[in-house]
């Protein structure tokens, strides 16, 4: 049987919107492509298996069929489809990996004052500056950030994905990103007001 020439974007959209065997063939081809791509990219992941990849691809096909109008042609259709599949896969992995971790546990209070240890790469002057800037940062956090910002900040610093922070806050990723961006802006402004220039900070934390 002669090999089918690769579809162009318009053909993908046309065939996936069609009925019967035309759509079925397009879905089969897309499924196979997504399976190949995801299988390769998740090969090194120890917490995924082929069943996971096949499940994600099935979810992706349903999503893609329901959102064909969102494809704007800025990339190849297959790239756009693969991006959807990757996002679904990563979302599932994040949920599983972080399911037992609460937001509050990421900001558990530290007993006593944290020690700013000096290492061989830090000069005495740098160490003093680091400690001073660290103290200022702690004060700014207390004075300028909301409780929500503190929780989101410590969770993000602890590696929790924004999607998981958003889930726990009953929010969405964009809102959490803006919350964190606002927090960073407040702290940046606070450091400047306290007299620290970007150069001061760069010198203390090379």
């Amino acid at each position: 049987m002669p090999m089918r020439a690769p579809r162009e974007n318009a053909s993908w959209i046309h065939d996936l919107r069609a009925c019967g065997p035309v759509q079925a063939e397009a879905l089969t081809d897309l499924r196979e492509l997504l399976l190949r791509g995801l299988t390769k990219s998740f090969q090194a992941h120890t917490d995924t298996d082929q069943a996971f990849v096949e499940d994600v691809v099935q979810q992706a096909l349903v999503h893609i069929l329901g959102h064909l109008e969102q494809f704007q042609g800025r990339s190849r259709f297959t790239t756009w489809a693969m991006a959807i599949a990757v996002r679904l896969a990563m979302s599932g992995l994040r949920r599983t990996r972080w399911q037992d971790v609460s937001l509050e546990s990421m900001s558990a209070p530290i007993e006593g004052a944290p020690a700013w240890d000096r290492d061989d790469t830090t000069s005495p002057a740098q160490h003093v500056e680091q400690h001073a800037i660290g103290e200022t940062l702690s004060r700014l956090i207390d004075e300028t950030l909301t409780e929500k910002q503190w929780l989101a900040l410590t969770a993000e610093l602890g590696g929790m994905p924004l999607e998981e922070i958003a889930r726990r806050m009953g929010s969405n990723v964009n809102a959490v990103y803006k919350l964190l961006h606002d927090a960073r802006q407040r702290l940046k402004h606070g450091l400047a007001t306290a007299g620290y220039t970007a150069e001061d900070v760069r010198s203390a934390f090379p």
Binding site: G37, I110, Q130, L145
Partner: protein
């Protein structure tokens, strides 16, 4: 509210790198496919797509998706090249 020194250092780096205007995740995701395709060809990114790249330097979620997508497409391109 105390941070461990390692957390404080990481936060300071993020804070000093903060821009007044930053792309959100939705906007990044909308152009992620295009960015990966352009980068796989070795073509420099346009200014508009450069903003996506800058977001990836700040957002682990989007950066992870970028790397996995890039791996998947590179693997498929490698198969086609055979």
């Amino acid at each position: 509210m105390a941070l461990r020194p390692a957390q404080a250092k990481a936060l300071i780096a993020k804070v000093m790198d903060t821009r007044d205007q930053e792309m959100t995740c939705d906007a990044c995701v909308a152009d992620l496919a295009t960015v990966v395709e352009v980068q796989l060809t070795g073509t420099p990114l346009s200014a508009a797509l450069q903003a996506v790249h800058e977001h990836l330097e700040r957002c682990h979620d989007c950066a992870d998706e970028y790397h996995v997508l890039r791996q998947a497409l590179a693997a498929l391109a490698g198969e086609e090249g055979r």
